[in-house]
């Protein structure tokens, strides 16, 4: 089903006025620099998606828990990181990159991730440990948790901001460290690309590599993979499967936190994004195929490419069509993928 991505990318496009073949940018052949920029935009966005979705995939793949509170963890992490960053730089409003050094970006991350890990641990031990196997019930429990957490976030965040904007889950943003605020000359087609987005891509790749190493080179990882394949057998072999579940849930939640810090620096954090990112994670994991990191990466790339290419290359007939329908297109394609490959692109039958 990569065909969809390729199809979108190689449709011959021309530059004209107001017919169904005009798009915002020329075809890949005519306007390679724009094409390259959009490819890079998609890859970097896919990296951010992957970070958040991999956490979800880990929990879903191993424990078959659809953690509907994943988005709320994301949101909470973003706000905690914001408070920490504001606390360190002490300004109370949005910062210019030049005012933030690397340490002031790392520390919020290092504080937010364990906080969310603890929250995840508590939720898992209190509500999800004793009803393994009742998937619908667990999904409903996590929905309830997400509703409560989202509402509490609105009541208590953001704190370190101007008087009129406190609480209510208003939009605030984190800032990348100053050295990312420049362009990198890629020497291809004269393209200059933002270093901050490349850093995001780098973090995504690092997460992917790290997860791969953990899952395929350590003992815990081996247990997790065994558990994904056959939970009951793994438990029957006498391995402490509960401990492994707890570890996986904690790591998954921490990944949501990392994703939040990264994307909040890239964009912003506000209430309402919990639903957005939960949906993003669900789509990426289901489409890519549950239980596999490679699947999550593939799903992230597909989702990001379809979204960005849809927004950029859908025809622009006059001014009322069609790029704004890219979201509809994305989800229709997702539904079709699921219709033809119900287990996702790389899913294995359970």
């Amino acid at each position: 089903m990569f065909v969809y991505v390729l199809f979108v990318a190689t449709v011959p496009k021309t530059f004209g006025v107001g017919n169904w073949r005009t798009t915002n940018f020329g075809s890949a052949v005519q306007d390679p620099s724009s094409f390259l920029k959009i490819v890079l935009d998609s890859l970097t966005f896919a990296a951010a998606l992957f970070i958040v979705a991999s956490g979800f995939a880990l929990i879903f793949g191993l424990m078959r828990i659809v953690n509907m509170a994943h988005g709320s963890f994301y949101l909470l992490a973003g706000y905690i990181a914001y408070e920490v960053q504001q606390g360190m730089t002490g300004q109370g409003f949005s910062l210019q990159s030049s005012e933030v050094n690397t340490w002031e970006w790392i520390v919020p991350l290092v504080v937010a991730a364990p906080c969310i890990a603890v929250v995840g641990f508590v939720v898992q031990q209190a509500f999800l440990r004793w009803n393994q196997g009742q998937e619908l019930r667990q999904a409903l429990i996590t929905i309830a948790v997400s509703v409560i957490v989202a509402d509490q976030i609105i009541a208590h965040f953001p704190r370190n901001t101007s008087e009129g904007q406190r609480f209510g889950g208003n939009a605030v943003d984190l800032t990348w460290p100053g050295w990312t605020d420049r362009f990198v000359d890629l020497h291809i087609g004269g393209v200059q690309y933002s270093l901050a987005r490349l850093v995001m891509l780098g973090i995504g790749v690092a997460v992917g590599v790290g997860l791969w190493l953990w899952l395929y080179r350590t003992k815990t990882g081996m247990v997790i993979r065994a558990g994904v394949d056959d939970r009951q057998m793994t438990a029957a072999l006498g391995i402490n499967i509960q401990r492994t579940f707890a570890i996986a849930f904690v790591v998954g939640s921490a990944l949501a936190a990392l994703g939040a810090v990264v994307w909040a620096s890239q964009s912003n954090i506000s209430s309402g994004q919990d639903g957005q990112w939960l949906l993003n994670s669900l789509v990426v994991v289901i489409v890519g195929g549950m239980g596999s990191i490679f699947g999550a990466a593939a799903g992230a790339i597909l989702f990001a490419f379809v979204s960005n290419f849809g927004a950029s290359y859908l025809p622009t007939t006059g001014t009322d069509c069609c790029t704004q329908y890219s979201s509809i297109l994305t989800f229709v394609l997702i539904a079709l993928v699921l219709a033809f490959r119900p287990r996702g692109l790389f899913g294995r039958s359970a």
Binding site: N24, F25, S34, K37, I38, D41, F45, G92, F93, S94, Q96, I154, T161, S162, E163, G164, Q165, F167, G168, G169, N170, A171, V172, D173, D181, F183, S194, A196, R197, W263, Q266, S267, N268, S270, G272, Q273, Q276, W277, N280, A304, S307, N308, F309, A311, S312, G318, T319, D320, T323, Q324, S326, S327
Partner: protein
């Protein structure tokens, strides 16, 4: 053996019915009405994007009740704690409830029904947001005996296309707020070709309509319109659709709330540092927290107005600000969320004075068609309503400046007198409401073209912006 069973379930059934009936009768009887008491409901948002507006709106309305109707607030820190003692002549005004919307239509309907039908309010002051106001306008049309004074919504439809006879708006709509900014871009910044990026929803389009109408009226050309959907996660592909900075003179933006900083960040990452001379935003660049998030990057940029006049001092405006600061010190005294509800409540009080406490059609006939409003300068400070009960209001365009304390905020630099909703005939009840291609870029002269007065150091000068 059989008899006890029969009795037990029958008894249970009877008890259920009886207790239910008692409970409902009790709650129903609380809604019993009292002669000579006018019931008012204040509809606002307490969830969603405009959750902070809850206390602002209630504070504004209650401010007018306190100033003109003897209202005594229960708490100076939190307006939503309530207000008592409101009376006009010997008619008592009772605030029966505060509606809590979340900027969507279904909850607006449910809350309005709760306020108007369950709590039997006669008048609603509200709602807060554009889409809610469209829904409320349709509701108002179906309930002609109730009166509605729009709170602070900016959509055009409620008083242009729908325009029910029992709905009033005493301030300008979203397009009116931006009146004049397009002309300023043309004349002061020399823009001839501009691109516009707007939220793909009604307020984004309405706000953009004001900018486009003005800019095109003077001779400017909008070369590209980009509309990212609401809740876009990644703005990079949308900002790439905008022409690069060397191909246009400037960009208009009506991307709001949660998207403003994300969109600007994406722009910086695509094209480099923002140039304040190339950006004009709507109120989202200067208010609602943007002054902390967006403004530091765009010092010197012009910003579309919001109907209020930060930095301008007239006796009436200052008296209003002083009064509000004293009553509710925690509310910003220059904010339009507060102000628009204030003028709405003030109008209601005058209407009730004239109607002698009667509601319904009598009140609708008695509501003032001209109102002294603190932020109005023309006509001796009087805002007039047009034939569709929409205000013709002075507007103030702004610029982001660095304040002495280091923060960046909007201040008034231009005064546009008597802006009407139709923009001189461009918007009509029969024309479609603002949309992606509406209005088209036409050279339809605005009534205030060439009449925009510069405001320097908080004083309206007679210098016209050329």
């Amino acid at each position: 053996m059989r008899r006890p069973k029969l009795r037990s379930w029958k008894t249970a059934a009877v008890m259920v019915v009886a207790s239910a009936a008692i409970a409902v009768w009790a709650s129903g009887s609380m809604a019993a009405s009292n002669a000579k008491v006018v019931k008012v409901a204040i509809m606002t948002d307490c969830k969603g994007a405009f959750a902070f507006g809850y206390d602002y709106d209630i504070g504004g309305a209650q401010g007018a009740f306190a100033q003109f109707a003897h209202g005594v607030t229960k708490s100076h820190a939190k307006p939503s704690a309530g207000m008592t003692g409101i009376r006009v002549g010997d008619t008592q005004i009772k605030i029966v409830g505060y509606g809590c919307g979340n900027d969507t239509v279904p909850l607006a309907i449910t809350e309005t029904k709760r306020l108007m039908e369950k709590l039997n309010a006669d008048v609603e002051i509200g709602p807060l947001s554009g889409d809610e106001a469209v829904a409320t306008a349709n509701y108002a049309k179906a309930h002609p005996t109730k009166t509605f004074i729009i709170g602070t919504a900016g959509s055009q439809d409620p008083t242009m296309q729908i325009a029910p006879k029992n709905m009033f708006r005493y301030y300008g709509d979203g397009a009116q707020w931006n009146a004049g900014i397009g002309e300023i871009a043309y004349k002061k910044l020399g823009w001839r070709k501009a691109a516009i990026i707007m939220d793909d929803y009604s307020f984004g389009w309405t706000s953009a309509a004001g900018m486009i109408a003005d800019f095109c009226a003077v001779g400017g050309d909008i070369v590209k319109r980009v509309f990212p959907p609401l809740n876009t996660t990644d703005y990079s592909s949308w900002v790439r659709q905008l022409p690069p900075p060397n191909q246009v003179d400037g960009y208009f933006s009506t991307v709001g709330g949660t998207g403003t900083s994300a969109m600007l960040k994406a722009f910086e990452q695509a094209y480099g540092k923002l140039d304040p001379k190339q950006w004009i935003g709507n109120l989202f660049f200067g208010f609602l927290g943007a002054d902390k998030v967006v403004a530091p990057k765009l010092v010197g940029a012009y910003v579309g107005g919001f109907g209020n006049m930060p930095g301008v001092h007239t006796p009436r405006a200052d008296a209003y600000r002083a009064f509000m600061s004293k009553l509710y010190p925690k509310l910003p005294n220059d904010d339009s969320f507060v102000y628009n509800y204030y003028v709405g409540a003030k109008a209601l009080i005058q209407g009730l004075q004239k109607s002698g406490g009667a509601v319904g059609a009598k009140l609708q006939a008695s509501l003032p068609r001209s109102l002294v409003s603190p932020f109005q300068i023309s006509n001796g400070g009087v805002v007039k309503l047009d034939s569709r009960r929409q205000a013709i209001q002075d507007q103030y365009q702004l610029q982001l400046v660095k304040k002495p304390d280091g923060s960046v905020g909007p201040t008034v630099i231009a005064f546009i007198p008597n802006v009407d909703q139709s923009f001189g005939g461009l918007f009509k009840p029969t024309s479609p409401p603002p949309g992606r291609t509406q209005p088209p870029c036409q050279k339809v002269k605005t009534p205030w073209q060439g009449k925009i007065k510069a405001v320097v150091n908080g004083k309206v000068t007679n210098q016209v912006i050329k």
